[in-house]
């Protein structure tokens, strides 16, 4: 089946074209069903390929055609099928399919229903291209393509101006990262003479650890990852991106696209381990982002914003894992996060749907019994993300925590704090939204239709069980995911391990249970504050304590960027437009144009229409050439 891998991205592309060309013709749910079936068939093929790879432990490159071939440049359009890419395939098509089905219910009746599904299918196509490409160029095409779709979907309800601004912000911030990525690709080509993963990683052995070239390249690639995966300093676009429809937030801004940066670094692990400085920077950026975003999440009042900051924080966690060399942990957390964060977003969407578009948690409460399925699945998601055993989040976080401890115990301490913050803001959200507060009248709410609740239930099951793939050896598990991904990461892990100290089983058990005890404390704390005391976040205009205000205002990142970059850029643009453009360039261009037009007008008199003159001109020309050639 591996040779048919091209079907996997092709089907969503066909779905996109089919819907895009019948934009006005399709009525009702037709386009949703087409889009979902395209992803479903892709999923089945991916599943078969995944099983083949899993059982055979082989990897394959499927070449479709030579794409650019000129002189020494030879870039082919080919796919790399290995453990890493098939794992991503499963997430993208699997979670993607569930979200598509959910969207049929969620987007029902929206005037842009067909447009929505065409964009979604296009997104899946590009995302698949990104993970399947066997060289950095194909990856970059996918990378840019998902950025475009993200832009289109954030600004999906384009009639509201702030949505367009959010879309623009996401696009521009991503462009900054993309520039780094692109420069990294150029440098890779310059130093390696190829863009193929296999070729580059094979040659990478010639470089010593700490080689400055590799450091620059990896830093540039990391800049790309920062933009796409919303890390400090380029993370402010992700919370704004919540302006898009909720399924978009679930698919693009939680489960798949934002993890592209993680995937890219995991894919390039051979390069990154050669640069300890880059890895340290990655770990620091990751943990800082995780900490700050977690802090901001605690003070937010919009249900989707809380989840958005939570995503930023979890992505930071994954970067920490990459930085400390726990590549498997990063990929494992990416997987479980895809399940429970998609679940949380979809459940939040279900809440919003039930309340006819309300997103402010201060206006919610007591929904526990009104929308029981949504409540129950949200509860599972919350437990999973909080890292309570035996739910999946516990195992994936544990893998990262152990990795962090092995590298540096300070990382471990901060990571535990972040993890406790996660527990706090998630339970805060849960209690405020679903527990009843007596001083409020009952909200009118209705449970979502089946095609929305069934994906929720499937994702809930996955959120519970996915941890089984990573049960550590201490518990008698056999670390399925670690073994599965080992062909990709072993070499790099060995290089990292030289510096790390091995920890004993007892320490490992201790490290596992200390956080768990604290987690339960935090859960109770949240319960005490938000259920017992019925505390509610202050209204927007109310004065807050200093500390809480800073986090509520998102650490003033937007304001700082506005003053530092946006305003000067606008001022510069004004200057360039009014002075340089209008007064200098325009005038020059117009004069050049006038010159050309005038010359044209003047010399056309040569074209008299008289044959005699034409023949005469030919003879004269020959004579002139002769003079030129013979005598000069």
């Amino acid at each position: 089946m591996i040779e048919y891998i091209w079907l996997v991205p092709l089907l969503p592309l066909i779905g996109f074209l089919l819907i895009a060309f019948n934009f006005k013709r399709f009525q009702g749910s037709v386009s949703g069903i087409i889009a979902s079936s395209a992803i479903f068939v892709s999923f089945i093929i991916s599943l078969i390929v995944f099983i083949e790879i899993y059982s055979s432990k082989q990897t394959a490159t499927v070449q479709l055609f030579h794409w650019i071939k000129f002189n020494k440049i030879d870039i082919s359009f080919s796919f790399l099928i290995d453990q890493l890419s098939t794992l991503m395939l499963m997430i993208i098509t699997g979670v993607g399919f569930l979200i598509h089905v959910y969207s049929i219910g969620y987007m029902k009746g929206d005037s842009g229903f067909n447009r929505f599904f065409s964009y979604m299918n296009l997104f899946v196509f590009f995302m698949l291209l990104l993970v399947l490409g066997s060289n950095y160029l194909i990856m970059f095409i996918g990378w840019e393509g998902v950025g475009l779709c993200s832009y289109l979907l954030i600004g999906f309800w384009f009639k509201k101006h702030e949505n367009n601004n959010a879309a623009k912000k996401a696009f521009i911030m991503n462009r900054i990262g993309d520039l780094g990525f692109l420069l990294g690709i150029f440098m890779l080509y310059y130093y390696f003479g190829t863009l193929n993963f296999n070729g580059i990683f094979f040659q990478a052995h010639m470089f010593t650890i700490g080689n400055p070239t590799i450091t620059i390249i990896t830093l540039l690639l990391f800049v790309g990852a920062i933009g796409k995966s919303a890390q400090i300093p380029l993370f402010t676009w992700l919370p704004d991106a919540m302006a898009g429809p909720t399924p978009v937030s679930a698919l693009i801004h939680a489960a798949t696209m934002v993890t592209a940066g993680i995937y890219m670094i995991a894919r390039s692990n051979v390069l990154f381990v050669l640069s300890p400085i880059t890895l340290l920077i990655i770990a620091i950026v990751g943990i800082t982002t995780a900490l700050l975003a977690g802090g901001i999440a605690i003070f937010q009042t919009d249900i989707k914003k809380v989840l958005a900051y939570s995503t930023v924080s979890q992505l930071g966690f994954m970067f920490l894992a990459l930085g400390v060399g726990a590549f498997t942990g990063a990929m494992f957390h990416l997987t479980t996060h895809a399940f429970f964060k998609a679940l949380l977003f979809l459940a939040a969407g279900s809440v919003i749907h039930a309340l006819n578009g309300e997103q402010d948690i201060r206006k919610m409460g007591g929904l526990k019994n009104k929308i029981p399925i949504t409540f129950f699945t949200f509860l599972i998601g919350t437990i999973a993300i909080s890292g309570i055993p035996p739910f999946s989040g516990f195992f994936s976080k544990d893998m990262i925590l152990i990795g962090a401890f092995e590298a540096n115990s300070i990382f471990w301490i901060i990571a535990v704090i972040v993890s406790l913050m996660t527990t706090f803001y998630m339970f805060r959200l849960l209690y405020i939204v679903f527990w009843k507060r007596s001083n409020k009248e009952d909200l009118h709410a209705h449970e979502s239709p089946k095609n929305m609740t069934i994906p929720l239930m499937i994702l809930a099951v996955l959120s519970v069980l996915a941890g089984a793939f990573g049960i550590p050896l201490v518990f008698g598990g056999n670390d399925i995911i670690g073994n599965f991904l080992s062909p990709i990461f072993t070499e790099s892990t060995n290089i990292i391990k030289i510096n790390a100290h091995e920890i004993s089983h007892n320490t490992e058990l201790l490290l596992m249970f200390i956080p768990v005890i604290f987690v339960f404390v935090v859960v109770y704390l949240a319960y005490y504050v938000y259920v017992k005391q019925k505390k509610l976040p202050e209204a927007d205009n109310q004065k807050r304590p200093f500390f809480s205000n800073i986090f509520f205002k998102k650490l003033y990142f937007d304001e700082i960027y506005n003053a530092l970059f946006v305003k000067p850029a606008l001022w510069l643009s004004d200057f360039l437009h009014n002075i340089i453009e209008l007064k200098v360039i325009d005038r020059m261009v117009n004069q050049a144009g006038n010159l050309v037009v005038w010359t044209g007008k003047t010399i056309r008199y040569i074209q008299t229409g008289n044959v005699g003159f034409y023949l005469f001109a030919m003879v004269i020309s020959i004579i002139l050439i002769l003079i030129f050639k013979l005598f000069i």
Binding site: F65, G600, K601, V611, F613, S621, I622, F628, K629, L630
Partner: protein, 473 residues
């Protein structure tokens, strides 16, 4: 003659057969049913085109007068495909009542010129070359005057025959001097003894002038605009694409094989002529209102670009030239196809008439836009790669300034192509061209062009194929 020899020159023989069959069919068919000639001719020609792709051995015939190589076969195939598109695009026009009795003439004349071109491309000596050239030229004058009751058409025919007579005379004079000084007309012998004496240079320049006329290079281009405008539009597209393409092919072959000794001489000449051709072609194109004249000057400018590839003188030059001509055929026929479809339905040929064209005919507008983008060389359509390789070839020889001017010229050309695109998409009109219900043949012709424009752009194996075949030179 043995069977293999037939196979070596099968394309010429099959074309002759087609011409004869059409002639006989025309005699056999009653006057009121003449239209049946159209499908017969096209199907026959289609079969010949397909037959051209059957692999055949290379070979030399008539003691070296005729030679067939993989590259010449490819060139002939490219021309065949182009002519097939021209034929398909002509169907609507040929169905007009006043042309009823002359349908077969059109096919016979075009096939005859194509036979001439094929012999010209395969020629191994100057005699065969000259015979082919004349066979390829004289019937075109008749074609240009095809609608002889229209003053402009008749005038076009006369102008073409007069100026081509002069150019042929000059060319023949040059050839006679070559024979006089080297004692041979065979390419191989001439190449061996050709030097840098003044007489040789004189002979070469006469030859060059004759070819420059055919490719309508500045300053030998003056006939072009009048003839292109006067001739029926489908003939114009044939002239500007196939006729020019064939001349470029043989010109390149002869320069590379016969005159390779004096490459430094013609390279300088080509640089100057190329500059002149691009610039003058573009400057004239800007001012044109009539789309046939517009495309005529645009095709002159394109010929200037082609010279950039030719002047390289190596495999790279041959490859980029053939590759570009192939792309040029699809792009230009796409543009001409739309103009022909509109002109045949409404008789409107001016740029102003196209105001608001997109609103009434979105599909035709898109085809036009794609073709113009390809002519202008905008990625990702094929034209970009065509120009890219031409520029590479010139840069390969170190003519960076020339490439710079060429890029500037490409920008100017983009300006006037955009003028037409602006007219179609942005300008509004109270009286736009009504919706055109194009028939099957028009659609088919345009679809082939669009597919060509895209496929060639994305398929680098084609370039590789041409490159591998070009090593024969």
């Amino acid at each position: 003659m043995r069977l293999e020899n037939f196979l070596i020159m099968r394309q010429e023989l099959l074309l002759t057969l087609v011409a004869l069959i059409v002639l006989i069919a025309d005699l056999a068919i009653k006057d009121d049913k003449k239209r049946i000639v159209i499908p017969i001719s096209i199907v026959l020609f289609f079969l010949v085109t397909v037959a051209g792709f059957i692999p055949a051995s290379e070979g030399i015939l008539f003691g070296g007068m005729y030679k067939s190589t993989a590259l010449t076969i490819l060139m002939k195939n490219i021309l065949n495909v182009g002519v097939l598109i021209v034929f398909i695009q002509s169907v609507t026009w040929l169905k007009r009542d006043d042309l009823q009795n002359k349908i077969s003439e059109y096919f016979i004349l075009i096939v005859s010129t194509l036979i001439g071109m094929n012999f010209m491309i395969s020629s191994g000596d100057f005699l065969m070359f000259y015979l082919g050239l004349e066979t390829a030229t004289i019937p075109i004058a008749a074609l240009a005057a095809y609608e002889k009751f229209k003053a402009k058409s008749a005038e076009a025919g006369i102008k073409l025959i007069l100026s081509s007579a002069l150019s042929s005379g000059i060319l023949l004079y040059g050839l006679s001097m070559i024979y006089g000084t080297t004692g041979s007309i065979y390419f191989a012998d001439v190449a061996a003894s050709f030097g840098n004496t003044p007489l040789h240079v004189l002979a070469f320049i006469f030859f060059f002038a004759g070819m420059a006329f055919k490719i309508s290079l500045v300053p030998f281009h003056l006939w072009t605009a009048d003839v292109y405008e006067g001739a029926p539009i489908n003939v114009t597209s044939y002239l500007s694409v196939i006729s020019k393409g064939a001349a470029v092919f043989i010109f390149t072959i002869i320069l590379y094989t016969v005159f390779s000794q004096i490459a430094y001489l013609w390279r300088e000449l080509l640089v100057i002529i190329s500059l002149l051709t691009m610039t003058v072609g573009n400057l004239f194109a800007i001012r044109q209102q009539n789309l046939k004249r517009f495309l005529a000057f645009s095709s002159i400018a394109q010929a200037g670009f082609i010279l950039l590839g030719i002047l390289d003188g190596s495999v790279l030059g041959m490859t980029s030239t053939v590759y570009f001509v192939m792309i040029y055929i699809f792009s230009n026929l796409g543009a001409f196809g739309v103009v022909a479809a509109v002109s045949n339905m409404t008789n409107k040929e001016n740029m102003d008439d196209y105001n608001g064209f997109y609103r009434t005919n979105p599909k035709l507008s898109l085809v036009m836009m794609l073709s113009l983008f390809s002519l202008a060389g905008i990625p990702p359509v094929a034209g970009f790669f065509g120009k890219f390789f031409l520029f590479t070839a010139a840069a390969h020889q170190g003519y960076y300034m020339l490439v710079l001017v060429a890029v500037l010229n490409a920008t100017i050309s983009l300006y006037y192509y955009l003028l037409l695109i602006k007219a179609m998409f942005i300008n509004t009109s109270d009286n736009p061209i009504a919706r055109i219900n194009s028939d099957f043949s028009t659609k088919l012709g345009l679809i082939i062009c669009v597919v060509g424009i895209f496929v060639i752009g994305f398929a680098s194996p084609l370039y590789e194929l041409i490159r591998s075949l070009s090593f024969g030179f």
